[in-house]
């Protein structure tokens, strides 16, 4: 129970919501539970949404399930932080370890389109070397994929999401953003000023919101409420890009459909048990793909244990749920002489990847940081949970809201086996065991955090910030079902196919073997686009289950 009265399922009777309308629908192909579809995909975010569209376009029959609602942004998204809590995954996860993770709001979504419905649209690429961080840089593990392959798929998904970015991006191999960069707001100019004072490059942040009209999307109106859902459809979320493509190509989307279990027989997946409209049902499928993100994907695999798979599916190596990573999300805030009014425009208009591309540091891995523009309750919550301020002092600090600026890091944590998802003893309203998540930073994580706080504080001071305040937090999830070349140390191969069960796949952020020092959505989407092409190629060669092909 999460306290929300969800709407009734909307993708029903052969129609799905038209996300560009306030009440309209578009036609949707529907499949019967009894007919085995080629692919049952669990989750419709960066991984599942992209995969559903591309597999349907390749001619496969696809049903994609999401536990959350199918929103129409124009009609459903209010300019109100509290109301828009409805976009997040609010059912409790048990959080343990030395540095327990905060879920919900700053961590994961529950809607058709996944966490991209409320993500902040920062669209960055991995540094090429990170795909081989063990062999090239001496830490973490290598990805089972070459960076040049990933680079091609970044191009593909950046075009699909019409990323607005600068003509010359200062770091890494050349890239071409399809839409021009947005104007950098006052908060971003603080970062720019600080960077110039310290002699490091900065850039307007590449963002997944359009700077000019695109199809039915108007250009961004700079209302700044991206994190609580874009009510104009300027934001190029999976909900308004890949989901319409998937529907067009004949995929079925089942909203408000929580998959509780994957069934297996004779070493193969046979379909998914899901809860929709008050009842449990079973969808037969030739292939099942887990795309529920780094907590729900391991939870589902673990909860699908059976006689033949006593420790959960795809878990003979014991790696399901392990090597979970977050991004360090510490920040430094300061009071400026100017009125900044950081609530305008998307929150992170300027970025700095300097420390992602410098290797002479006292820690492994990298971090980027961005200018900030938190909405009022978001900022207040950070103040009180970090500082414990209340009373007149809280009023005084909040009264400076319009004069604040901040820099916040996205820092790469190290993959550690004991940072993991397991099943808790208690159950949710559907009777499914809740996720229990353990997270503890390692020394390297702590050294990086210190470095970043010091550097951001120097930069903010150089830009004229006073009364500097440091806060700590984490964001994003990576890993939990990592891909690799070795069945002993990974859950899937480089195609996302689980080592143990040939027609069971993973395609989401949980595949990531390392976290990188940038926000993960573009990497997850690029990887999903790549996996879709691999599956199509494998099926062409008769190496993947397929109905007609």
């Amino acid at each position: 129970m999460n306290g929300w009265a969800d709407p009734a399922p909307r993708a029903v009777d052969g129609r799905a919501p038209d996300v560009f309308s306030t009440a309209g629908t578009v036609p949707m192909r529907q499949f019967s539970d009894r007919d085995a579809v080629d692919f049952a995909i669990v989750g419709t975010g960066c991984g599942g949404g992209v995969l559903a569209a591309k597999l349907a376009e390749a001619g496969f029959s696809v049903v994609a399930f999401d536990a959350g609602p199918f929103w129409r942004p124009l009609a459903d998204f209010a300019s109100d932080e509290r109301e828009q809590d409805k976009l997040y995954w609010l059912d409790p996860r048990i959080s343990a370890g030395d540095d327990p993770v905060e879920f919900g709001q700053n961590n994961s979504g529950r809607a058709v389109g996944g966490s991209t419905v409320h993500f902040q649209m920062v669209a960055l690429r991995f540094r090429p070397e990170w795909f081989a961080s063990r062999s090239r840089l001496g830490y973490g593990v290598d990805w089972p994929v070459d960076w040049r392959t990933m680079w091609r798929y970044y191009d593909e998904v950046e075009r699909a999401c019409a990323i607005s970015g600068p003509v010359n991006y200062p770091w890494g191999p050349k890239r071409h953003y399809p839409y021009r960069a947005h104007e950098v707001n006052a908060a971003g100019q603080v970062l720019a000023r600080g960077a110039e004072a310290l002699g490091v490059p900065w850039a307007p942040t590449p963002l997944a919101t359009v700077s000019a009209p695109r199809g039915k999307s108007p250009p961004c109106v700079y209302r700044g409420m991206c994190k609580i859902g874009c009510s104009t459809n300027a934001k190029q979320s999976v909900l308004i890009t890949f989901i319409p493509r998937a529907l067009d190509a004949g995929a079925e989307i089942r909203d408000l459909a929580m998959v509780g279990r994957i069934e297996t027989e004779d070493g193969r997946a046979t379909g998914v048990e899901y809860h929709r409209d008050g009842q449990w049902r079973f969808q037969r499928a030739r292939n099942v793909v887990c795309a529920g993100y780094s907590i729900e994907t391991p939870r589902l695999l673990l909860n699908s244990a059976s006689g033949a798979h006593p420790h959960g599916l795809a878990n003979s190596s014991g790696n399901v749920g392990r090597y979970l990573m977050v991004h360090l999300n510490d920040a430094v805030w300061g009071v400026m002489e100017d009125e900044i009014r950081w609530y305008k425009v998307p929150p992170s208009m300027a970025c700095c990847e300097h420390w992602n591309y410098i290797d002479d540091k006292d820690f492994d891995g990298g971090y980027s940081f961005m200018s900030q523009g938190p909405l009022p309750t978001d900022f207040a919550r950070m103040l009180v949970t970090n500082e414990g301020v209340f009373g007149d002092e809280l009023h005084r600090q909040m009264a400076l809201y319009n004069r604040m600026a901040g820099l916040k890091m996205v820092g790469e944590t190290m993959p550690q086996a004991d940072n993991r998802v397991t099943l808790a003893d208690e159950h949710d309203d559907l009777g499914l065991p809740r996720a229990h998540v353990t997270y503890s930073c390692c020394d390297n994580d702590r050294r990086m955090r210190r470095h970043a706080r010091d550097f951001m504080a120097r930069m903010l001071a150089a830009a004229g910030g006073s009364e500097l305040l440091e806060t700590g937090s984490t964001a994003h999830l990576m890993g939990g079902c990592r891909m690799g070349n070795d069945p002993e140390t990974s859950v899937t191969d480089s195609d996302g196919r689980t080592w143990d069960i040939p027609n069971l796949w993973v395609c989401d952020g949980s595949l990531m073997p390392t976290a990188g020092g940038v926000n993960p959505s573009m990497t997850i989407m690029a990887n999903a686009a790549r996996i879709a092409d691999r599956i199509t190629a494998l099926a062409g060669r008769g190496e993947a289950e397929r109905a007609h092909g």
Binding site: N2, G3, R93, E102, G104, R223, A380, L383, L394, N402
Partner: protein, 206 residues
Amino acid sequence: MTGRFHPPYPGWNVLDKWDSPSFNDVTRAVLRKRLEEVPKRRFFTRKEWPTLQALCDTVLPQNHNADPVPLANWIDAALHEERGSGTRHADMPAPPRAWRQGLAALDAEARARGAADFASLMPDARGALLHDVDAGRLRTDWQRLPARRFFRNLVLAEIVAIYYSHPTGQSEIGFGGPASPRGYVRLQPNRADAWEAPPGQWEETP
């Protein structure tokens, strides 16, 4: 700590834009409900209620508000509706129990300081007590409820989430308020659109 609080944007009220393009129907519906339908007490007992109200008054004093935001009612409603936050720390009971236990612990701490209960302490003494709780200077047994986590992650986080998503809290800090379909045009420092608060006035430069 400063004395009485002077909001830097006197006279600014985001609700004045109600009929403008900054508000759309869905936002108006949500806010109308928030402003007009204040939920009745359903979760907390009659005995717990004064403690909760005193706690809200101490965390966010509203003497300067002609029409104070009914924080306690919204906390009560969220608990009644089992509204989750997505996280439960392994060392914390579920929110309903944590809140009950925490309020009782605040009363016990007040008694250990010679008062009848938390609500009957003077405002300054309540503030001092909460600072003690936050710093772990406890005089009573909290029975495995982590005092600081309860105070920061449940009490403070919930109260500010209610206050600063309310037009009263938003207006006070000069936030632009609802902004759809119309967003903003002037993005430079010290520039504001006609539909934003005029320049703020701060007592002293901090």
